[in-house]
Amino acid sequence: MAKIKLTLYVTGQTPNSQRAIANMQRISEEELGGEYELVIVDVLERPQLAEDERILATPTLIKELPPPLRRVIGDLSDTEKVLLGLDLQVAPAQSNYVEGGD
């Protein structure tokens, strides 16, 4: 399985950002099984990175690898939507119908 590369853009210590970080760590452990690399970027400290990636909403999660590039916004509280949005193969219990998104 190819390595998953994720970047999570947050804004400082806002509740949404804190929740997103916590949710992401949970999803990573529970669903992605350690085969991932997660970078957390605080756009208040690194606004130029947000500019380069054209981030509007925070939190924003970007999956760079494996392709295709996908973006998910929000505090990531809806695990199903996060996995759907990232277009990642999920646990066997889930349906295989993950094409597209909504």
């Binding site: 756009v43 500019e51 909403a57 996908r70 973006r71 998910v72 916004i73 990531l76 509280s77 939507k81």
Partner: protein, 510 residues
Amino acid sequence: MSTTGQMVQVEKLRTGIPGFDEISNGGLPQGRTTLVSGTAGSAKTVFAVQFLAAGIEESGQNGVFVTFEESPADIRRNMGSLGWDIQEWEAEGKWAFVDASPHPGEETIAAGAYDLGALLSRIEHAVRKVDAQRVSMDSLGAIFSQFESATTVRGELFRIASALKEMHVTTMMTAERTQEYGDIGRFGVEEFVADDVVILRNILEQEKRRRTIEILKFRGTTHHKGEYPFTIIPGEGIVVIPLSTLELRQKSSDVRVTSGNAELDNMCNGGFFRDSIILVSGATGTGKTLLVTWFIAGGAANGERCMLLAFEESRGQLFRNAIGWGVDFERMESEGKLKVVCEYPEVMGLEDHLIKMKAAIDEFQPNRLAVDSLSALERVSTVKGFREFVIAMTSFIKHKEVAGLFTSTTPTLLGGTSITEAHISTITDSIILLRYVEMFGEMHRGLTVLKMRGSKHDKDIREFTIDGEGMHIGKAFHNVSGILAGALTHIPPGEMERIGGMFQDSGGGS
């Protein structure tokens, strides 16, 4: 507002957009956000770009452009034709883009609560990076369509507007509206930036497009009310025509200048005033262009600079006719005394004509200006637009202290007035009527000075003739009445003598 009992003056930031600073009494309220609302094609993006461009060019203020709709590449390319080199300003650190435009093929899925903190952080970063004093955001509708929750977006835009206020930046946000006359904007955006609202319109009136700008409100400060026409000129951008801000403050001269014809000068008690506006009205073929030709010849003979704006005849025709009357336009032009501008009225809208005329007058600096004919311009405009045009033009040339001679073609051969006269007659200082006079199966031409402000003038209706040397004014039509009304009656000589005896001829005539 912590200050009580103390007047807090709303400071304005001069935008540098031609005409806008006049109608806004000095510019946009400084440090606040102004909403610019308009339908599709109402030049919102041009206005937003020009706000920054004028800041860089006129007052050395840098700007940040937040684009929600078009990509920066598109904006750079589209605005290049208006003479703004955005790429160069970016390289010089005067302009920064915040690209918030949607990218095709990249879908974003929402999984939980979010805000636009990243956008705010990017805008703040860009403002600090170029030390911006102006920010334009174009256009809000596009960001509402990128996110599902309109409530979140509205709240976040409010947060961005407040943050920019904290940074003492003057901001312009554009928003779409669906009708020219109706709600200010969709999405309820006016609720959070309701302090200052400007509306751009692109109205279809009698098959003609007319652009107008209206300042709907400026909280706590003054502005001119109502719609003002504007146009977009390549190399300049938006130019607002500030009609009602024109001031009746021109000086008045009592120096007389020649009309180019000694007999007409006599009728006017020594000639026209130097900075007056003269309207010549007559049916087709009564000799209006002849009067114009001699007005110019008279000026050139005195060493004055003359300008002729012709809307009915081509250069070739004008020059040939002038030669026929003994006036050599070609030589005058080569000597730099004359500039002839010929144009079909239909080539552009009246607003563009006005701006072109102003530019031509500013460049040539004439002492005399003739427009032949003003009524030809009626064709390309609505009645309201034409009236505004006439007022703006006459006011402009009065400020320049230029003698203006305008001609107006009346629609009927005998008598009659035109729309032009109805709009212009009160603005003009003198009116000369040229009329056909039918006498026993023959057409004669009659001329009279109907009014002349601040001067005595001949009250007779005189016959005038045209030959190879120009025009000659002869004796009065004493045995005809009803010329002006177009309903002539001939009075027998016996009756004339009797009436003459009754009133004891006061010794008029020349």
